[in-house]
């Protein structure tokens, strides 16, 4: 058998714990492997390799991320901080001391990642309530402590954590090279025009925050349909803004950005509510709305809302732009109408005066959960009568769907118990859920009906007050 040709490498410059690094590696090498094996910083641990445990958490420019999901080309010109950058030699910083005193480390394997997530949280200046701390570390699994003493330690350290100690850097650059074939190559694309041209020429697969693509790479389940194309740096695809009566989200808008956005909070706060249910801090800092749309999972958390709000998806290619309604975008199981040379660039969400939107995700746990059922319901109230009812549902068919039968029941009706029961029966009859490793068809069907019934009843009760 012919020896495979070596993966091309590139030179990537960034800092780790204030030390400048110049790395020769394939752009798709995992940041985790660069830290552990190329730089010898083994404090960062691997627990799952797919963004589910948080043991590999590090900070990029202060944001906590799972380093197993970051292709190293995306840290070029950024600052990476690891657990080795916290203490001054053996003198622990106040957060580490609090962990030691409170008993927040047992076997210790989750500890470095936990410290980095806690550090990002404390630096954010958020009020260190029990609930806020739990949410901040929800992306870091610990099997030893029950989290009790970790939460206690973080609360103890709040207010005492100093700015990062800057390491006495000599300015000397650390030059390292990854071993041959240390990961897939990634083609850079500095501008949207270049990205679209490359896409047209190579039919490559775009990679943004990596929360789906890197997982598929690790599982060796990514279709080898062309080179990976880095779009994470495309400024043209960022930004949240109002355009006329629409809310426009750049495809690279992250869930963290949705949660922080003032525009979202005023125009469509449910978006921030949904973003908060996706993964945990590490995933929210890297996962994007465009990625959720193009990954086309039937369980995609954003997708039912896009259906219920009659949003549209803007695709761009060298041939120009076209706009596809969400209801026509997902064509089958993990399939979309995107052509091979097209890129999702924006999501347009119509803003309708007096529209009400309710959202509910049923998962197995409260963070890091893939939904068993996800539902978004939008309607207008004309007196006590419902108008323009739109129901989006996920995880109940091979793709995200609208519940047209239930919509018809609710359209022009008042939210009475009788209406709610009929709508529930309609939705149960029209969906086609399956049994899988997460749940059962029976459960998904029953819960879809019951959740819809609940949403209608609560709206009715609210209206009656």
């Amino acid at each position: 058998m012919a020896a495979p040709t070596a993966t091309p490498t590139e030179t990537i410059r960034f800092t780790v714990n204030d030390t400048p690094v110049e790395l020769d590696a394939p752009g798709g090498r995992r940041l985790l492997d660069v830290l552990r094996y190329d730089l010898g910083l083994t404090g960062t641990k691997e627990g799952c390799g797919e963004g589910e445990c948080g043991a590999c958490s590090v900070l990029i420019d202060g944001d906590v991320v799972d380093s197993c999901l970051v292709p190293v080309c995306q840290v070029a010109r950024h600052d990476v901080r690891t657990v080795e950058g916290l203490a001054d030699g053996v003198r622990l910083d106040p957060l580490q001391s609090a962990f030691l005193e409170a008993g927040g480390t047992q076997c210790g394997i989750c500890t470095p990642g936990m410290l980095m997530a806690a550090r990002a949280f404390l630096a954010s200046g958020a009020e260190p309530t029990d609930g806020a701390i739990r949410e901040a570390i929800a992306g870091n699994l610990c099997r030893c402590t029950g989290y009790t003493k970790i939460i206690e330690a973080i609360a103890l350290a709040a207010g005492a954590v100093p700015a990062f100690r800057h390491m006495p850097s000599t300015g000397a650059v650390r030059r390292v090279a990854a071993p041959p074939n240390g990961g897939p190559a990634i083609v850079p694309s500095p501008t949207l025009r270049q990205a679209l041209r490359l896409l047209a020429e190579t039919g490559g697969r775009p990679i943004a925050g990596g929360t789906d693509v890197m997982v598929a790479l690790a599982a060796r389940s990514l279709p080898r349909d062309g080179p990976l194309l880095d779009i994470w740096g495309l400024e043209e695809l960022r930004g949240i803004r109002l355009e006329g009566d629409e809310l426009v989200l750049g495809a690279l808008t992250t869930y963290a950005e949705l949660r922080r956005s003032r525009v979202v909070a005023e125009a469509l706060p449910v978006l921030a509510e949904i973003a908060a249910t996706i993964g945990a801090a590490q995933i929210q800092n890297r996962g994007t709305v465009g990625g959720n749309v193009i990954n086309a999972s039937p369980a995609g958390d954003m997708l039912p809302l896009l259906l219920a709000t009659e949003s549209s998806i803007v695709l761009a290619s060298v041939r120009g732009e076209r706009t596809v309604p969400a209801s026509a975008f997902w064509s089958g199981y993990r399939r979309t109408v995107r052509a091979a040379d097209e890129l999702v660039v924006r999501i347009r969400i119509p803003l309708v005066p007096d529209r009400r939107v309710r959202y509910r995700k049923i998962g197995t746990r409260r963070a890091l959960a893939i939904s068993k059922v996800v539902m978004a319901v939008a309607w207008r109230e004309d007196g006590s009568t419902w108008r323009d009812v739109r129901i989006g549902l996920g995880s109940v068919a091979e793709r995200p769907i609208r519940a047209l039968g239930a919509e018809a029941v609710l359209e022009g009706s008042r939210p009475t118990t009788e209406t709610a029961d009929r709508a529930a029966a309609a939705v149960e009859a029209e969906i086609r859920p399956i049994d899988d490793v997460r749940s059962t068809a029976d459960y998904r069907r029953a819960v879809s009906g019951r959740v819809l019934r609940r949403i209608v009843l609560e709206a009715g009760e609210a209206g009656a007050r």
Binding site: V83, L92, A102, I109, C142, A367, V437, R450, R453, R454
Partner: protein, 770 residues
Amino acid sequence: MATIARPSQAPAPGFAAGRSLLRREGPEKLTGLARYTDDLVVPGAWYGVTIRSTEAHARLLGIERDPAFDWSQVVVVTAADIPGDNVVSLMSDDQPALVADEIRHVAEPVALVAAADAETARAALEHVRLRTEPLPPVVDPLESVRAFARYEIAKGDVAAGFAAADLVVEGTYRVGHQEQLYIENQAMIAIPRGGGGITVQGSLQCPYYVHTALKRALALDDAQAVVVQAETGGGFGGKEEYPSMLAIHAALLARAAGRPVRMIYDRHEDLVATTKRHPAIVTHRTGVTRDGRLVAQDIEVVMDAGAYCTLSPVVLSRGTIHAAGPYVCPNVRIRSRTMATNMLPSGAMRGFGAPQTEFAAEMQVNRIAEALGISPAELRRRWAYRVGDVTATGQVLRDSVAALEVLERATEAAEFERGRARTAAARWARLEGAAGGDGGHVASGIGLALAWHGAGFTGGGELRLASVAGVELTSEGRIRMLTGSTEIGQGANTVLPQLVAETLGVPYEAVEVAPLDTSLVPNSGPTVASRTTMVVGGLLVRAAERLRDEVEAQAGRPFAEAYEDVARACGPVRIDEQFGGYPGIEWDDTTYRGDAYPAYSWACAVAEVEVDLDTGETAVRSVVSADDPGRVVNPVLATGQIEGGTLQAVGYATIEEAKVENGRHLNDRLATYLIPTAMDAPRIEAILVEEPFSGAPHGAKGLGELPMDVVAPAVVAAIHDATGVWIADLPATPEKILAALRAAGSGAKAAAEPAAEPAAEPAADAPPGA
């Protein structure tokens, strides 16, 4: 949250034990300096991978290599290359290190490959095909005809007991696989040494189990095989027996390659290939009188051992002995068996058989309390063991019985009776609301369970182990403790030197811990069974006492003042202490009568939940747990054990589900085998109760496994209190809860119904969920 007062952190001689001294290896773990197996740099090491079966049962006809692949760049090892016996030596030696002819479960190791880099090794895997002939698999333990062990315990006259009963309650309870889910996957590095020796360094709980297995499979002598523990990222039983398999594999590859070989599992391989908690089916028939006396218990336990014996007989033995719960009953019969199937071998996991049978026992007590209309706390108050009571094996509980104490402490702290009144009032409110409208859709519930856990090995196990631990005064005047007990996060490296320091009257920092290397430390037995603080700690206290007396006799001064001078003048002194039994403890393995354990630890948990009646989703809001581990050596580390075990048990109770299809585990990633996050974790209040064990010099019993026994039944009782439905199969998933609510009528109505009136006539209740 823990209710212990936190003493000052500053160590003081003579007062090391009983204080929350800081975790010894904590600073290394907090700075990233601690070296776990995959952190170790071993120059020239190759990467090893495993070729596994994809069938549950088949005859292996051949291992075919694709001639298109360049095999010169790798080494391949099959069963034929094993120099010693092809077994992973443990109890019955039935498990091969590599399949020779018959595949008995999915993901069974068949061959090994190593290469200079991981990519090449993995590429080789894709060019190997196993030629097999399928055989019919057995996937249900009830259909299996082959038992690895059977036990029967009998006390009194069960038939007479049932004849005297006014009410007979029956129930069948099922629990599934649970994955230990240590965050560090299995990992081992083998390094060939001169003279045919091999050192393995890895993530493990039991260095001498690995040592024995390595010698047998590689045909090595005691000195040739060396086992070193690297920092270990969690065990929970999962690194009790499996590392022996992995060490053999790494050593075989290292021998074949003539160089070090690393075998580091990824999460997928760890989930599909390594042992899990034994699934079990437990059936109870219990006779009680109308006034609430327990008169007969008839219990049957069936465990699924999987394809090989592993530790199943002792898992079953512990499960059997604990199956009746911590209650006095004059007439008891417990029959149990652990069956061979073509499932992944079941193995050790925290609790070791007891969580399975105690879940059933506590479910049964809670259902009986409901049937009698007696508070579950009051019923336990009447039934729970007191000093002088006799267990099902005929053991007289002579001291250290804290069942009532933990019951009172937990119910008081959790305000259990007030909570019950509150949830009952809410049920009525929902019922009345349901008449006019919809009522509420989130229901609160509170539940209780009580448990016991025998400390140390079962029956004659500790005597057979004859563990050794030592304390040494080196010629430089340093104090070193030597044990084969591993630090796996539980705090052994802190608690054990605390005991030695206290005994010697020296500062905690003065006691060094010898590196965990079988060429340096004695065999202190495995780090399992909640035995380390009690058994090994006791040996160290005795050894330290002898060392102290010897030095003080020579110097005529207190040890702390004299030991440095004595060491310089007289050279090193090492005292090894070997376990020789606890006074008055007797056990007969043939009749299963006697003192099953030298002492028991006790726990009571009160759980509060909220259940969404639309969806069956459960949020465990709080768990208050009172635990008695005898004398507490380090309160922060002890409450850490309770809190961590509590959450592991909450996961077991609610979300940790291993679905298996034709012997294949479907939850094969962390995205599908889910454990609780910080947002799922309840508020946990750990209360330490200290009822010292007089047989151990320092009064300590076991702690690590205790929370695993008690929390799941408390959570399920709370779900019942909220919803009115009993979930008899763990985990109590929303799917099961909603199905039960729908079967019971509309969810809101079922939840609103008050507890059933006590049944007046002798009757066999339908099993829950039926």
